[in-house]
Structure formats: C-alpha cells, structure tokens
C-alpha cells in the first residue's frame, strides 16, 4: 500500500511487521519498530508508475508467525540462509554499489542452501536527478546503512509456504549469437562470441547493439538477464549491473517494441497471483516509460536490482505465500 508518513508511522506503532520503500527523507522520520526499509523515490502503485518523495510503499507481512531482523556485510551475508527460518521467507535489501551487494551477486548462485530458503528483495537506489546515496534501514535500531544489507526473516505458519516468481519480458533466439565469458565478472574486456575471442566493447559498438537490451542466459527455461551499465571504448570494457558467469551461454535479448504492452501481455497469465511483495526494475520503469502505467497485480518499489534468490536485472520479482 502507498501511504503517507503518518499512516506508515501508525502501522509501525501498532506493532505490524513491515517492509517499507521510500525516499530517505521519509524513512529517517519513521519510529523504531518491526520494519526494514530501503531508499527509492520510484514506485509502481495500483494506479501505475509514480515518482514520489511524499509517500511510502508499505508491505504488511501479516502472514508471519515470527520474525527477526539482521544486518549483514560482505563478510557474513553468506550466513543469510543459516539465519532464515526453516519454513520462512527472507526479505533482503542491499544498497546500490555496496560491497555487500557485489559480493552477494557473485556468490549467492553458488550457495548450496540458497534455493532451500526463499530470499526476495531488491537493491535500494536514489533519485537519479540528484547525487543522493542508496541506503537501507534497520527499523529495530533506526540505523541506516550505505554499506550493509538488511534482512527481515519471517517465519511462516506450518500450513503455508513461500513461493517466488519472476516476470521477464525479454526473450532470446537460441540460434542467435552466443556469448561466453572466461570468468564470473561485473566488468569484461574479452569474451567469446560464437566461439571466437573478441573485445566485447568493440563488438557492441561495431554491431550497433542496443545496450538497453540485456544479455540473457537460459537457466533451465528461466531467462535471467544481465543489464549493461556502460560501454567504454576508451578502456575497452563493458560493465554490468549483475555478474556474468563463466559456463553460461548468453544471448542479446530480442528488441521489445512496447514495454508496457509486453508487461500487460505477460501479466494476463498471472492475474490470480496474490503477491505479498513485488518490485520492478528501474530500467524497465525508464526504458518502458511505466510512469502512469499499471502492472497489477504487481505493485511495489522500483529498484536498482531485484533479488529472487540471486540478483537479477530488468526483471519483476514477486513473492506469494501459498497453502502447502
């Protein structure tokens, strides 16, 4: 729900367990309580995309039978699965550009325990027209962090279980150019294109590839995006918002002619989903011009990275709590 500062404070005082997304100026005014928060001024509400520094997006986690909040840095974020409840759901928020976010993005996919413990969340951000910093908030202490992650672990009743899903509007052509990388990395110089070594930045520039389109890898039918952050002709580097992994085959996504229409098409099949949390990517929001456009039943913060077990890009992620 998209509420005023007064309403959010009221919910906290009532002892509700909350996930909150808002501009930093609002989050820092909230009373202490059972909540975690992250910064963003961008949201998808029931009425559509909106930029706001006057309201907060609040998810009340009413299904929780118990909860705990933990703060992590890169040295202990791997403990997140150990700290999770055996039958639970973890909400994780990490600041954009933080060491903990970089570490998690590279290491989480290798965790043996990760897929046994649902982790949903996002990378907090800031108003792109300012030079603000992304932050996360631990509502128990009221302390905010630029360099740490905050997690809300919730325990679910025995007859319920958490289920995560994603909406990725991008598609690939398996017969298209195959790109492979030598190592897991957020920044790449050389790679293999159809088995031949090339400088990726040169390849992108020479072939006039639209860098608004992510690289996409097929994870057993699940398409996972890696978005391009920048291409430097001078340094011959391509930087990404999430790591590329050695051993995966990537393709450039097919162009999307109309983001909003593509979302609408995908969401047709998900009308019955009852998400307790969802978030969508800032790149979808910007490139897709989603301001004023609805993506119901999915509402929530617009984010600088999405987490459904692992870090994702240009993807809508959601969590449901369903009957066992």
């Amino acid at each position: 729900m998209f509420v005023t500062l007064e309403r959010a404070a009221e919910l906290i005082r009532e002892g509700k367990i909350l996930h909150i997304a808002a501009d930093e100026s609002l989050l820092e005014q909230l009373p202490k309580g059972k909540w975690i928060g992250g910064t963003t001024p961008y949201f998808i509400t029931d009425e559509g995309g909106v930029t706001s520094k006057d309201k907060l997006f609040v998810n009340e986690i009413s299904c929780a039978s118990d909860y705990k909040i933990a703060v992590y840095d890169k040295n202990n974020v791997s403990d997140i699965t150990k700290d999770a409840y055996p039958n639970g759901l973890t909400f994780l928020i990490m600041p954009f550009g933080s060491d903990v976010a970089v570490f998690y993005s590279k290491e989480a996919p290798y965790s043996d325990e990760l897929l046994l413990n649902p982790v949903i969340g996002w990378i907090s951000g800031f108003d792109l027209s300012t030079d603000s910093k992304a932050k996360v908030f631990d509502g128990i202490t009221g302390i905010s962090y630029c360099d740490k992650a905050v997690a809300l672990h919730v325990c679910l009743p025995d007859d319920k279980i958490a289920s995560l899903g994603i909406v990725n509007i991008f598609d690939i052509d398996n017969n298209d150019t195959v790109i492979e990388f030598y190592e897991d990395s957020l920044s790449v110089k050389k790679c293999l294109v159809n088995g031949k070594e090339v400088v990726l930045s040169d390849y992108i520039l020479e072939n006039k590839i639209d860098t608004q389109l992510p690289l996409v890898a097929d994870y057993n039918g699940v398409l996972i995006n890696v978005s391009i952050k920048s291409v430097s002709e001078e340094n011959s580097t391509v930087d990404f918002y999430a790591p590329v992994f050695a051993g995966n085959k990537y393709h450039f996504a097919r162009p999307v002619s109309n983001y909003a229409a593509s979302f609408a098409e995908y969401l047709q099949g998900l009308k019955d989903v009852k998400p307790i949390f969802s978030c969508n990517c800032i790149l979808n929001y910007l490139y897709g011009e989603l301001e004023g456009k609805s993506t119901l039943p999915f509402t929530g913060p617009v984010t600088f990275g999405e987490i459904a077990y692992q870090l994702l890009n240009q993807t809508l992620v959601y969590a449901e709590v369903i009957d066992k």
Binding site: L115, I161, S163, N220, G221
Partner: protein, 72 residues
C-alpha cells in the same frame, strides 16, 4: 529408486524438464553446471543429495513436478 535415476539423468543433462517452479528450474540449471564442471561420481552424489533435499523440503508443492519427472 527410479526417481533417483531420473534426477541423475537431469543432473547429467541427459533428460530435460522445465517446471513452473522458479527455484526448481534454478536448481536443475545450477546442478547441471556444477556437475559439468566436475564429472565425477562423488560430485554426482553431492548434486543428487542437494536435489533430494530440495524435493523433500518442498514435497507438499512438488507433487505434480515429481509425477512429471517420473514419466520422463
């Protein structure tokens, strides 16, 4: 027993199965890459244990997946 064999074949990439369950798809993909990087019986056992732990934990919502995998 036959389900274990199907899981082994999935891990080795000899069978294909796509679920509607995001976590199961990510797990199959992860185990296939893990095994492909170290094709030993020991690694296969580790991958199989991981698959079985996942199925055990989510057995209540995986009935359909299990039935479909058995039919592969």
């Amino acid at each position: 027993m036959s389900l274990d064999l199907k899981f082994e074949q999935l891990i080795k990439g000899e069978l294909k199965y796509k679920s509607v369950n995001l976590a199961l798809n990510l797990l199959i993909s992860r185990l296939q890459r893990k095994y492909a990087a170290n094709k030993t019986p020991a690694e296969l056992t580790i991958c199989l244990q991981e698959m079985k732990a996942f199925v055990e934990k989510y057995s209540s919502i995986m009935t359909k997946d299990i039935e479909e995998i058995k039919k592969l």
